[in-house]
């Protein structure tokens, strides 16, 4: 299968140039099978789930629960540990809202976290940040010292959306399990770049968004160990999540349905299932090799450029995501990004990538980010590197 030919959007041109989409860390493109899955729901069996007694309803419920099975398979998890949410952000918020946290509880995270794995905590409890090493990456060797009896959760990005580096999962897991602290992985970026096996990762929660793994927007997954999910109080109440409701009380459904109040994103779940199947067909090991290769290619192509300052520039071990500061006075990251788009048809991100505290710490007002996915080619990365050379040369 030619991967690229499955993405109709790539047939477009911008100002007569082919589209070079290097903004997959913002959101990924969607293959035909995903569009098809959503179309099928609309054209063949639109219905609500877990309610209707007719054919459409059965088909929709079946498709929705099949999607849960597919997500479980993708994560090597049990289906009853899969909660459908809107996105990573909602997943982290759901955990933060359900854990019965108190104001002087502590959460341990890194300063490299996306706002999604920072603000839900910072708004409720005391957040303790692992310090950064001189190379700009979190210093996991300090972890043990930072855990206190009040530490209620340790949260780590599995793959940084800024540096393209993998979190020190093994070190974190060890500390967390030794101290009996739940360990949450923000895997929002990971699905397009590496296998995600929750047994191997050894985490207690893992969150990811459908739109970053070639699936639709508005659907995401919170995986949680059943023992943890069962301790959590569902924060959203309403239809679909109650078992029985009387005038004087109610009982909620079991995990995971108790966390899915209201009509869920049925077609989104179906689209997500198609996307996960698509990635599994490519093979997650292949996905990982491809990402690392492109990451290495970008790193090698950019690191010697004296007009740029790579974020975490001493780390060649990275996936297909790289950010850099444009060190040309008078040329902002935004202007750089616009020139790349308008002159070369190369689509990038420019800004702080929802990691304002991290950008403040490393002293860059804004950076440009290039990010790949399974459909990104070596040629595209070369086109990007050539254009960068032309602008900075």
């Amino acid at each position: 299968m030619s991967i690229r030919s499955e993405f109709p959007i790539l047939n477009q041109t911008i100002h007569g140039m082919p589209v070079t989409y290097l903004d997959s860390a913002s959101t990924s493109l969607k293959p035909r099978c995903v569009l098809e899955a959503i179309r099928k729901y609309y054209e063949e069996a639109t219905a609500n789930v877990h309610r209707s007694t007719h054919l459409f309803g059965e088909t929709a419920t079946q498709g929705y629960e099949d999607a849960r099975n597919r997500a479980a398979h993708f994560l090597n998890a049990r289906p009853d540990e899969i909660v459908f949410v809107r996105n990573t952000t909602e997943a982290v918020n759901l955990v933060a809202l359900s854990l019965r946290l108190e104001k002087d509880d502590e959460i341990l995270i890194t300063p490299l976290e996306h706002h999604s794995n920072q603000l839900p905590w910072a708004s409720k409890v005391k957040v303790v940040y692992v310090p950064l090493r001189p190379d700009g990456l979190p210093d996991s060797s300090r972890l043990e010292d930072l855990v206190t009896p009040r530490t209620k959760l340790m949260g780590l990005g599995l793959l940084s959306n800024v540096t393209g580096t993998r979190g020190d999962v093994e070190v974190w897991r060890e500390v967390a399990s030794k101290r009996g602290i739940p360990f949450l992985l923000d895997a929002s970026q990971a699905g397009g770049h590496m296998p995600m096996d929750v047994q191997k990762l050894g985490c207690d929660f893992l969150a990811f968004s459908g739109h970053k793994v070639c699936g639709p927007s508005g659907i995401g997954v919170l995986w949680g160990k059943r023992s943890w999910l069962e301790q959590m109080a569902p924060p959203f109440l309403g239809g679909g999540m109650v078992h029985e409701s009387r005038l004087d009380g109610y009982t909620v459904k079991e995990v995971p349905w108790c966390f899915e109040a209201g009509t869920p994103n049925v077609e989104g779940a179906m689209g997500l299932a198609a996307a996960l199947e698509f990635l599994e067909k490519i093979g997650m090991k292949n996905v990982e090799d491809h990402s690392k290769e492109l990451g290495r290619q970008m790193y090698d192509g950019l690191k010697g450029n004296r007009q740029l300052r790579l974020v975490a520039d001493q780390t060649s071990e990275r996936y297909g995501i790289v950010s850099f500061f444009v060190d040309i006075p008078g040329l902002s990251a935004e202007a750089f990004g616009r020139i790349m788009a308008d002159t070369y048809g190369i689509l990038l991100s420019a800004g702080k990538h929802c990691t304002h505290p991290y950008h403040d710490l490393i002293g860059f007002s804004a950076t440009v980010r290039a990010s790949t996915h399974v459909y990104t080619t070596e040629d595209e990365v070369n086109r990007f590197l050539d254009a960068v050379r032309e602008i900075t040369g």
Partner: protein, 420 residues
């Protein structure tokens, strides 16, 4: 294509133009004719478009031995972006101070404004806050932060329809405190402020003059602004990528005011693009500029239609003038029979309808039109909009629909006519 008028040829020297452009890669293949005077020189030049500027940016503007990074780092040149959505916008290079220089020269040459531009002259600016990321501020920014040299940038909100009463009151307060000589404004934005001042019955600050620029000026807005502020109002036409070109005189015509530039107006003759019904003196403005040495332009098609007058203006200034700006070519509405309607023609038709504040005329099918309109006051102008449009559009279907507000494009500018 036929030329309806040329402006600025008196000050043009083919040799000067040639010297500025000759070692720029973007112009490497141009045929230059330096022997036949300015007209001959221009005649020999092919056209260039926005697409060329985009394709050649920045490499087409780098002289041998210059890198983009070193050019920008030298601070002699800056990168500026034009407004517009990404299909439309451009990145361009400006010589440091070039814009201010030619803009000031244009204003100085004006019979009314020139003598009033004294040393401590100050100006308020009211337009989209997105116009330049380095200057205009979006979001909460103090009045001090929005003061740049002699300018005060009033707006902090993308969309004027979201201005609250307190936003409007803040702007009015700031004008009262800053006491600028003039205001330079997007007409839609200033018209919203004008109506607010009128409705809130607060005393109106007396500007010495008002400049309307940044986009197409609807007669509805211009009249509302003139009526409320009671000072001279002048339209000013320019392009971020090319400079300023026309400034309205006290008699209401638009005189050439460019420095180191020529404007040619090319008639859109019957048959071009199958168009019918444009007056013979209407055409596209095409500019040649050499004052901005970082990015001079040769016969650059602006995409804007103007109507020119060749007789002498009542103000006494010599030369041809622009009688009216017709709007952008891409906004011209065309009916199946080939008959075309410029945004100006539609605006002239709707101007004067009581109770009409703002509108957008959307062509929904080959011969069907929908007008969304915002009313001013209790009177519903819907019926009259339909009947007035019928009078020019013939058998085309027209529907009018009242709207609480009209949203600008992402660039913050408005379209008054949107063809199929």
């Amino acid at each position: 294509m036929e030329i309806a008028a040329r402006f600025g040829t008196d000050g043009a020297s083919p040799r000067a133009v040639h010297d500025v452009v000759k070692d720029l890669p973007i112009y490497a293949d141009r045929p230059f004719c330096l022997t036949d005077g300015t007209d001959g020189f221009l005649d020999a030049l092919p056209f260039m478009t926005k697409a060329d500027l985009r394709r050649y940016f920045p490499h087409g503007f780098l002289r041998p031995g210059t890198s983009f990074a070193s050019l920008i780092a030298s601070k002699k040149v800056e990168v500026v972006r034009t407004s517009g959505t990404s299909s439309d916008r451009l990145q361009v290079l400006w010589d440091a101070d070039w814009w201010e220089r030619q803009e000031a020269a244009a204003l100085k040459s004006h019979a009314y404004i020139g003598p009033r531009m004294t040393g401590e002259y100050t100006e308020a600016v009211l337009t989209t806050p997105l116009c330049s990321e380095s200057v205009c501020k979006t979001g909460p920014a103090t009045m001090e932060e929005r003061r740049v040299d002699n300018l005060l940038f009033l707006n902090t909100q993308h969309d004027p329809s979201r201005w609250t009463h307190s936003d409007l009151a803040r702007m009015a307060d700031e004008i009262d405190r800053f006491r600028p000589a003039a205001i330079e404004a997007d007409p839609v934005y200033l018209a919203v402020l004008a109506r607010h001042l009128r409705d809130s019955r607060r005393p109106v600050f007396k500007f010495d003059w008002i400049i309307l620029t940044y986009e197409f000026v609807s007669a509805i807005d211009k009249t509302a602004i003139r009526g409320l502020f009671g000072c001279p109002v002048f339209e000013f036409y320019g392009l971020t990528e090319a400079g300023v070109f026309f400034l309205e005189c006290p008699k209401g015509r638009h005189h050439f005011c460019g420095s180191d530039s020529v404007v040619e107006v090319f008639r859109v003759t019957e048959g071009d693009d199958g168009w019918r019904g444009l007056p013979v003196n209407t055409g596209e403005a095409v500019v040649t500029t050499w004052g901005n040495s970082a990015a001079p332009l040769l016969r650059y098609r602006t995409g804007d239609l103007v109507t020119v007058g060749v007789d002498r203006c009542a103000c006494g200034a010599p030369g041809p003038t622009v009688l009216s700006f017709e709007g952008r070519i891409r906004d011209v509405i065309k009916l199946p029979d080939g008959k075309v309607f410029t945004p100006r023609l539609i605006d002239d038709t709707l101007f004067g309808i009581p109770g009409l504040a703002q509108y957008v005329c959307v062509q929904e099918g080959p011969d069907s039109m929908r007008v969304d309109y915002v009313s001013d006051g209790p009177r519903d102008p819907g019926g009259e909009i339909v009947s007035q449009l019928h009078s020019i559009l013939g058998t085309a279907r027209v529907a009018a629909r009242s709207a609480p507000f009209i949203t600008p494009e992402q660039s913050g500018k408005y379209r008054t006519a949107v063809p199929l």
